[in-house]
Symmetry: C2
Subunit: 338 residues, 2 copies
């Protein structure tokens, strides 16, 4: 039982009695190697338990078959589900996924972008378009293909896949307003450096104006992502003089927090107040009443994002932007205001 050191290409080559070039070819272009030597090499690889060193491979080939993804947080079910689909699809295409999370902080995101690129990520998946010009410059000079997901903006520099947050929320808001609601509350994630959140808020404003309702009637609270924060926001929203008849929430988690708080305060949903969410995570159908929300095809988005990004990396043609359809899920947490 001697201490064996980590086997290298050279070790494999020696054991198989060939050159390192041949071993390398066996691994990367097997069809260029004769059957007999390939068998011999593969045997040596197994015997030694050889694994290529990515650092060296990266330096020599400038490719890693690795895709990096930076998401705001792993604690959010929507990203988790989409990301899992993203990874599954990448695997099928022979790529490995590396994930980093930014905690919704743009400076951390920048750091992660640099880190993943330095590590040789062939392509990057990012969330949303909001990004400092410095880091955009960096991305462009490094020429690393980057795809923005969870967003849809044909005019943006980076290609994107997602849905139109503005349109989606408009659809819901118009429906709600048509039901007779005019005193409106909204709980949103912080809109600074979060284009998705901003678009959803603007959609509500826009829909109100279009219906001739003064946006003075909109009570907006911005708060961080969480059930607890949603509950607190709801409390202060209904504590005001003008209690809204409906509360739009920027995502399902905030909405569920609002619903919990309503129950706690003895406010009946939807009889006394309607609540809506966004995303349609599993949770939305587990609460009572079921949450009215906007369904987003996360898995499909993740899988499609993988396809597109791989095409980008491999120099194939790809769409500048891909729009996915959302569906408004009218459920029991929303009712008509007579």
């Amino acid at each position: 039982m001697t201490t064996r050191s980590i086997p290298t290409l050279d070790d494999v080559a020696k054991l198989a009695a060939v050159s390192t070039a041949t071993v390398s070819r066996c691994l990367n272009a097997p069809e260029q190697v004769s059957d007999s030597t390939r068998k011999r090499v593969n045997k040596a690889v197994k015997a030694l338990g050889y694994t290529p060193n990515f650092g060296a491979r990266f330096m020599a080939a400038k490719r890693t078959n690795t895709i990096g993804a930076i998401i705001p947080t792993m604690e959010n079910a929507i990203f988790a589900r989409g990301l899992q689909a993203f990874q599954d699809e990448l695997r099928a295409k022979g790529y490995t996924l590396l994930v980093a999370s930014s905690s919704y902080k743009s400076d951390i995101e920048e750091e992660q972008i640099r880190s993943l690129i330095a590590r040789g990520a062939d392509g990057l998946l990012l969330i949303g378009h909001d990004r400092s010009s410095a880091i955009m410059q960096y991305l462009l000079t490094r020429k690393v293909p980057a795809l923005v997901a969870w967003a849809h903006d044909p005019s943006a520099v980076l290609p994107s896949i997602g849905f139109d947050n503005f349109e989606a929320m408009c659809g819901l808001a118009k429906h709600v307003i048509a039901m007779g609601h005019s005193r409106i509350g909204m709980i949103s994630a912080p809109t600074e450096s979060n284009d998705r959140a901003r678009a959803r808020v603007q959609a509500v404003r826009h829909s109100m104006q279009e219906a001739g309702i003064s946006t003075q009637n909109l009570k907006l609270i911005e708060t961080e992502y969480g059930i607890e924060t949603g509950a607190i926001a709801f409390q202060s929203l209904v504590g005001n003089s003008q209690v809204p008849t409906v509360v739009f929430c920027g995502n399902d988690v905030l909405a569920v927090g609002a619903m919990r708080q309503a129950k706690k305060m003895g406010i009946v949903v939807p009889d006394e107040i309607s609540i809506t969410g966004f995303d349609d995570i599993e949770l939305a159908r587990l609460v009572e009443p079921e949450l009215c929300t906007v369904h987003v095809p996360h898995r499909k988005m993740g899988a499609t994002a993988a396809s597109i990004l791989v095409d980008m990396v491999e120099g194939k043609s790809f769409p500048q932007t891909t729009q996915l359809d959302v569906k408004i899920e009218l459920r029991d947490s929303l009712s008509t205001r007579l």
Copy 2:
């Protein structure tokens, strides 16, 4: 506007009119460089937007300040929360986290372990002790520090941090049995290559035997992780001749699925049947009735795991196993059987 290529150490050195060695020192051991030259070098680094190439750095230094983590799935809130804490703590200590997921498949996990090690991960976080001897050999010969989380086993080869799944479930099961339950159902995640799931099932068996209840009275169903799968399992459990009075679930997600199915079938929880979970994710307190479960300190586990793993990587002393306390949360989905 010329096409600039990626700046290297050499470029920085030239611009600052020093040698590459000095630049390297500026980055890795600033105290060895005089103030004036350091300033000059830092300026050049900024001007060029230089980022070290990890591949090259890894090859030369054999360290990357990177920790890899392989979790079964990102879609599970328990891992997500613990992992986020893990990452936050790592960041504070100057390490970067790379995440991969195995979809609960051991062959994929092996692939990911090799991949992360080849990429130069200084240390690895793994979930659970179940692992083939081949990959254990690989881990040991590569001498990469690896810490097992979500498990606690003083006798295992790899150091671990977590809680005693067996003891935790025994605590709950004994309490339930003392409440008068004797016809028992259980919905578990697949126990093959999942020591946590296995320990929880064994705990129920053990507790029954200890109370003099034949384990013939245990109806066990193994199914994959998910709300829907939990619902299906529950349905077949109550479709049997001997309907259980309590259903233990291996985790909260399965339990919530069971509760949803019970509601759908018009079976009142806990009056007609009690249901328990494990983990205490946020969801547990959002369903109605609130789910009786075992609370696990995920965040604390993640943060502590980071500390220990960094100590391992840096050659400091560390505990072979760290046990965290769990707490049984007696909530309304469990009631006495008279």
